[in-house]
């Protein structure tokens, strides 16, 4: 029995990397649009996948296509909840929802940008003078927001990858659960047999 156990232990102790075949789908606000990322938890990103954008009732309001890195951008036009659906085939589907209030915030940013672009031709000297007085212009605020987003992107990706990491503790915990469950069943079965005798 010991040799048999050794065989099984050798089998389960084979080196196991952390990756798993799980779909990762994340959407986040990005200035005047919604940015998203689609891929597998083993690091493969999903390129060229069509993302359906639906409203709360399931009516299609648009679509987006992922680029080489699994990134996609969608610009909302109405402050309603947006449901993003991705189907990568072979049973790999994912869904994410952005609530109406976040969409409204995005539209708010878009409105600011629009007024800025309309104002732009009119007297640049005037705006430059304002900047020195006011703490931050809307234009600068948008530029800073964009810079921060760019800096945050790798961090966010790393965080997502870290969350998907299967560490040894979890694996050992799972094995412990399995042995515990079968031990419990063994106990119940043994009691039943003892009672039967």
């Amino acid at each position: 029995m010991i040799r048999y156990l050794a065989l099984i232990i050798a089998l389960i102790a084979l080196p196991f990397p952390a990756a798993a075949h799980k779909v990762i789908f994340a959407i986040f606000k990005s200035g005047d649009s919604i940015e998203g990322e689609l891929g597998f938890s083993n690091g493969d990103m999903s390129a060229g996948t069509t993302i359906q954008v639906l409203d709360a009732q399931g009516v299609q309001i648009g679509e987006a296509v992922t680029d080489r890195d699994g990134f996609f951008i969608f610009t909302p036009t109405e402050p309603i909840p947006h449901v993003f659906k991705a189907d990568m085939g072979a049973g790999h589907v994912a869904e994410a929802t952005m609530p109406a209030n976040e969409i409204a915030e995005i539209l708010g940013v878009a409105a600011i940008e629009e007024t800025l672009s309309q104002q732009a031709p009119a007297g640049t000297a005037e705006t430059a003078a304002q900047v020195t007085v006011a703490s931050l212009s809307n234009e600068e605020r948008l530029a800073i927001a964009e810079a921060v987003r760019d800096e945050m992107r790798p961090l966010r990706r790393e965080l997502a990858a870290y969350r998907e990491k299967n560490d040894l503790q979890t694996v050992l915990g799972g094995i412990g659960y399995i042995f515990g469950l079968f031990g419990l069943y063994f106990y119940i079965a043994a009691r039943r047999r003892m009672a039967g005798q």
Partner: protein
């Protein structure tokens, strides 16, 4: 191999769950006291085996070991693989809770089928021939699982042939590895503990 939540229609999920519950009940009924430790160990092996990834081209696939579980456990492979799947869902988010029944059926069904088809052959023949049959069984279990996954997807609307092809060809390397692993494992078990198969089977009846 793990179908995720939301990929299948409700009727497929319900049918799969009902069949899986039946399989687990059948397995527990056949599970005698003597087989419980072996069932637990194979359940743990399956749980960990799915974390071993074999990189293939742009994607990667993982081992399943359902053929081995089926050959050693017979019907008891159902509860063993079900428990493994449940914990994978809870701990790692593989698959999903609603599709647990379908996944259990897709993985444990071929395990039982392998046992029905090759179990007797493995038991009766010499260790070497038995190992070859076990290897064939290991590859067969994976092939059957890919077909069942494609079938589940087809019932929900995907075209069967392209889906099946995709999953099947991606898993050819896994079939080879599983065949070798199952063959070697059965050979070793027969060599170091020849009474394991007969003892387990004997206790079952």
């Amino acid at each position: 191999m793990h179908i995720v939540d939301g990929a299948l229609s409700n009727s497929v999920v319900i049918a799969g769950t009902v069949l899986a519950v039946g399989g687990v009940a059948m397995g527990l009924k056949r599970l005698s006291l003597e087989r419980i430790p072996a069932t637990g160990i194979l359940s743990a092996s399956f749980f960990v085996a799915s974390l071993i990834h074999v990189p293939i081209g742009p994607s990667s696939v993982h081992l399943i070991l359902n053929g081995l579980a089926g050959l050693i456990l017979g019907w008891a492979a159902f509860p063993a693989l079900f428990v493994g799947l449940l914990l994978q869902t809870v701990f790692f988010g593989f698959g999903g809770l609603t599709v647990l029944g379908v996944n259990a059926l897709n993985i444990a069904g071929p395990a039982v089928l392998t046992w029905l088809l090759f179990g007797k052959l493995v038991e009766r023949s010499s260790p070497t021939t038995g190992a070859i049959w076990a290897g064939v069984g290991g590859a067969f279990a994976i092939a059957a699982t890919t077909c069942l996954v494609a079938f589940s997807l087809m019932l929900t609307g995907d075209a069967f042939i392209p889906a099946a092809k995709l999953v099947f060809f991606a898993h050819i390397p896994v079939m080879v590895i599983e065949a070798l692993l199952t063959g070697t494992a059965v050979y070793l078990v027969r060599k170091v503990r020849p009474d394991l198969f007969s003892a387990i089977k004997g206790a079952a009846h």
